[in-house]
């Protein structure tokens, strides 16, 4: 049984923050498929397109028929733990600081044996279920879980290293005015976040759900305007050293594309919030988060961007907004590369049209705030990098993967519907 996590003690500000170290990140190109699967929480291995043999470790040619047509596919994660060991000395500093560390050999029902991390509740000879998770180096690794859920299993120390569970972590949600803020805050409270800071711009200007926000336990509303560098720096000075999870939910949405807008004013606002807002936040909060990636149980863990799925393919009805999100998506990849050093994850949550006033004329389905919040929490608990919320977003990414050019035509013809 996993010992439940206890709330970490208040940190002595005079104490040195441990420098984040990482497991080895070196991988062959073929092995990067594990990271791609982990980014979305899928269990995928290479399967030979010709003879269907499942391959492991990842490779360039089939171990059975020498075909080079190896395709990453969702496969059964079931297997049996046939041997285990507890590593007590390691040549890698990351593991050395975290020993004892348990690893094992799992014989998969679909064929290969793998070496994997092992959950404390899985015993040798047990049936286990494998998952692929991103480790602190950002690479995909195999992890064996007990076949059936056990109490507090998410608190397993190895597992917590590979997820961004909000439990006992301190969260900043950047935009109180966004209609999704109460649902997000509520979900973090339910997930046992220890403090939920919420940034609020133009505090003098009322908005309908302020009271509801204030009533959510552990919520603390603080001034923050992501379009104002001074305001962002001021808040970072105050809480930057204790922000473990940052949820960048500020967004500026207006319908319209290029020609029918007579000037660039809305576009400038869209870029200022959706693109430069992320950059200002990252410049102010990023350094401390990157430095606190190994700061005990409530270390800095994740940066969450809530983006439009139209970042992938432009929706002309919201053409300029889509473009600002495409820019934000690109910037998030840069941020991911920069936060990597600290082992801090960047998770993008892509949503289709949301249930709010600026998407009012669009037909359903629309993403409800509660659904969005659930995806954010779920993604953090699973340590994901890419989350697609709702049918529209899932459908769009499917189409994008099948052919971005075809999707571009579909976006014109269907009006994105």
């Amino acid at each position: 049984m996993t010992n439940p996590l206890v709330p970490p003690p208040k940190k002595n500000p005079q104490k040195r923050s441990r420098v984040p170290t990482r497991p080895s990140h070196m991988r062959s190109r073929a092995a990067l498929g594990l990271a791609a699967a982990a980014a979305e929480g899928r269990f995928m291995l290479q399967v030979c397109d010709e003879c269907k043999t499942v391959q492991y470790p990842p490779r360039d040619a089939c171990r059975s028929c020498l075909s080079v047509e190896l395709v990453w596919k969702d496969v059964s994660p079931k297997g049996r733990l046939i041997a285990d060991t507890t590593v007590r000395t390691s040549t890698n500093v990351y593991f050395r600081e975290r020993t004892p560390w348990r690893v094992g050999t799992v014989q998969l029902d679909i064929g290969p044996s793998v070496i994997c991390h092992v959950h404390g509740d899985a015993a040798v000879d047990d049936q286990v279920r494998l998952i692929i998770r991103l480790d602190k180096s950002g690479q995909g690794v195999l992890f064996a879980l007990p076949d059936k859920a056990t109490p507090n299993m998410e608190d397993d120390p190895h597992m917590r290293e590979m997820t961004c569970d909000p439990k006992f972590r301190r969260v900043l949600i950047t935009d109180a005015r966004n209609e999704n803020a109460p649902a997000l805050a509520k979900s973090f409270a339910d997930a046992e976040a220890s403090i939920i800071f919420i940034g609020e711009s133009e505090s003098w200007r009322p908005y309908p759900h302020r009271e509801a926000l204030r009533k959510i336990p552990k919520v603390e509303i603080l001034p923050l305007d992501v379009t104002d560098t001074g305001s962002v720096l001021e808040l970072a000075g105050e809480i930057g050293g204790k922000t473990d999870i940052l949820v960048n939910n500020a967004r500026f949405v207006r319908p319209g594309g290029i020609i029918d807008r007579t000037d660039v004013n809305f576009s400038r606002d869209e870029m200022d919030v959706n693109f430069f807002g992320m950059m200002r936040l990252a410049q102010a909060f990023g350094p401390a988060m990157r430095g606190r990636g190994a700061d005990g149980q409530n270390s800095a863990a994740a940066w969450v961007n809530i983006l439009s799925v139209y970042a992938w393919s432009n929706m002309p009805e919201y053409g300029a907004f889509s473009a600002s999100n495409a820019a934000a998506l690109s910037l998030s990849q840069c941020l991911r590369a920069e936060l990597w050093q600290g082992g801090v994850r960047v998770m993008n949550v892509f949503t289709g049209p949301t249930e709010d006033e600026w998407h009012q004329p669009l037909p359903p389905p629309k993403v409800q705030p509660a659904a969005l919040a659930k995806s954010v929490i779920g993604g953090l608990k699973d340590g994901l990098e890419d989350v697609f919320v709702g049918d529209v977003a899932k459908d769009l990414i499917d189409r994008w993967r099948a052919g971005p050019k075809i999707l571009e035509r579909e976006m014109i013809e269907s009006g994105g519907q």
């Binding site: 171990r63 050999t105 070496i115």
Partner: protein
């Protein structure tokens, strides 16, 4: 198929050479290999220019290979080999060189292995040992071979009821042998109690299950019998050899090595049975793999090695002399030279030149090699039977 193989008649192995090991060295593999070659040529009474064949095994030569060494050391061989098989390199070097000499491609082949050991070289080697290790074992705790062999040992113990004491018996007897080897890195006696009480490394592997990485070199010569006799060099006959890679790939975890596939050929070619073997030198980076070799090489049935080590005395004067120099477990693991230590000691044993570790009347030795934990198991295996020139 096996009966078609040609014997090694007329080809012999001679001039066993060890460059005494050091725990750490600031020198390079080139330096260690040069020392071995110099010692080899002097002990054989030849000049480096007389060598027309050269075989090299080393992990730490990078960016060089055997090619770079020819220029570095001023050799002009007409036959050149580089064997990256780790613990199986000694057997592989012998059998390849023997065929070259037999075919006339070379007259005199120096087989050399050597590695340096810098303070950080073990960690560096582990992190990029092989592509599969880099991708699929090192990221999991980075326990290196300790962790991989811990998994094999755990599985072996569960399946065959081996106890830690059984592995301890191997380690303790090898330490006793090592105390008679002046070159052994380990100089203090080891009791079973000390073995049992040792610090855990990667359960069930503890400190004395692990070899000590060191710097060092080993070498021998392969040549025609008539040339050895003319030079008045003690030599050994090559009775048979086997080699196998990636055997039993479908086994979910390693419980046996390639020896099992080729054992009939090994004894058939030599025209011998196990009871005619006087000395056994197995590859011993961890005691579990010694047990697998005792089984796969026919000294007992699969799963019976624990009982075998309980009922035999594995020391030099015992009823089953095994790893008489102390093996890697007590003499040290000098990188790829770990694949040569058993071969070089076996040549000494059957030529009667082992000195303090000499097994009385040793005529025939079996040498076994095992190498390269490419991912979850050792991929290379090999074995050779050699006899002193007086053996029939």
């Amino acid at each position: 198929m096996s009966s078609k193989r040609q014997g090694y008649g007329g080809v012999v192995v001679a001039a066993p050479v060890t460059v005494p090991y050091q725990r750490f060295s600031k020198e390079t593999a080139h330096w260690w290999i040069a020392r071995a070659l110099r010692k080899l040529t002097r002990s054989a009474g030849i000049k480096p220019a007389d060598l027309d064949g050269f075989s090299v095994s080393s992990f730490t030569l990078f960016p060089d290979t055997a090619v770079g060494l020819t220029q570095h050391l001023g050799l002009t061989p007409r036959w050149l080999d580089h064997i990256p098989f780790g613990g199986a390199s000694g057997v592989a070097a012998l059998r390849r060189a023997a065929r070259a000499v037999q075919a006339g491609d070379a007259n005199l082949v120096a087989c050399v292995s050597g590695d340096t050991n810098h303070v950080d070289s073990f960690r560096r080697m582990l992190s990029s040992f092989s592509r599969f290790a880099q991708d699929a074992s090192y990221p999991y705790g980075s326990g290196g071979p300790n962790a991989c062999f811990a998994l094999l040992t755990d599985y072996y113990m569960r399946h065959f009821g081996a106890k830690r004491e059984d592995f301890g018996a191997i380690c303790v007897s090898q330490r006793e042998n090592a105390l008679r080897n002046p070159h052994a890195i380990m100089k203090k006696p080891l009791s079973l109690q000390q073995y049992m009480d040792a610090r855990a490394i990667s359960d069930p592997i503890a400190l004395f299950d692990c070899v000590m990485p060191v710097a060092g070199a080993e070498a021998f010569l392969v040549m025609r019998e008539e040339d050895a006799r003319a030079a008045n060099l003690p030599y050994a006959q090559i009775r048979s050899t086997i080699e196998r890679h990636n055997a039993f790939a479908e086994d979910p975890i390693q419980m046996r090595g390639g020896w099992e596939m080729d054992i009939d050929e090994l004894y058939g070619m030599a025209g011998m049975t196990t009871d005619q073997i006087d000395v056994v030198e197995t590859y011993d980076d961890y005691p579990v793999i010694v047990m697998m070799q005792l089984e796969d090489l026919g000294f007992c049935a699969k799963g019976e090695a624990p009982e075998f080590v309980r009922s035999h005395d594995l020391t030099i004067d015992g009823d089953f002399p095994h790893n008489t120099s102390g093996g890697q477990l007590s003499a040290g693991q000098a990188g790829a030279a770990g694949g040569f230590i058993g071969m070089v000691e076996a040549i000494r044993q059957v030529t009667g030149s082992a000195g303090p570790t000499q097994v009385k009347d040793a005529q025939t030795a079996l040498v076994s090699g095992f190498g390269m934990i490419n991912f979850d198991r050792g991929v290379c295996s090999g074995a050779a039977i050699i006899s002193g020139s007086e053996a029939s």
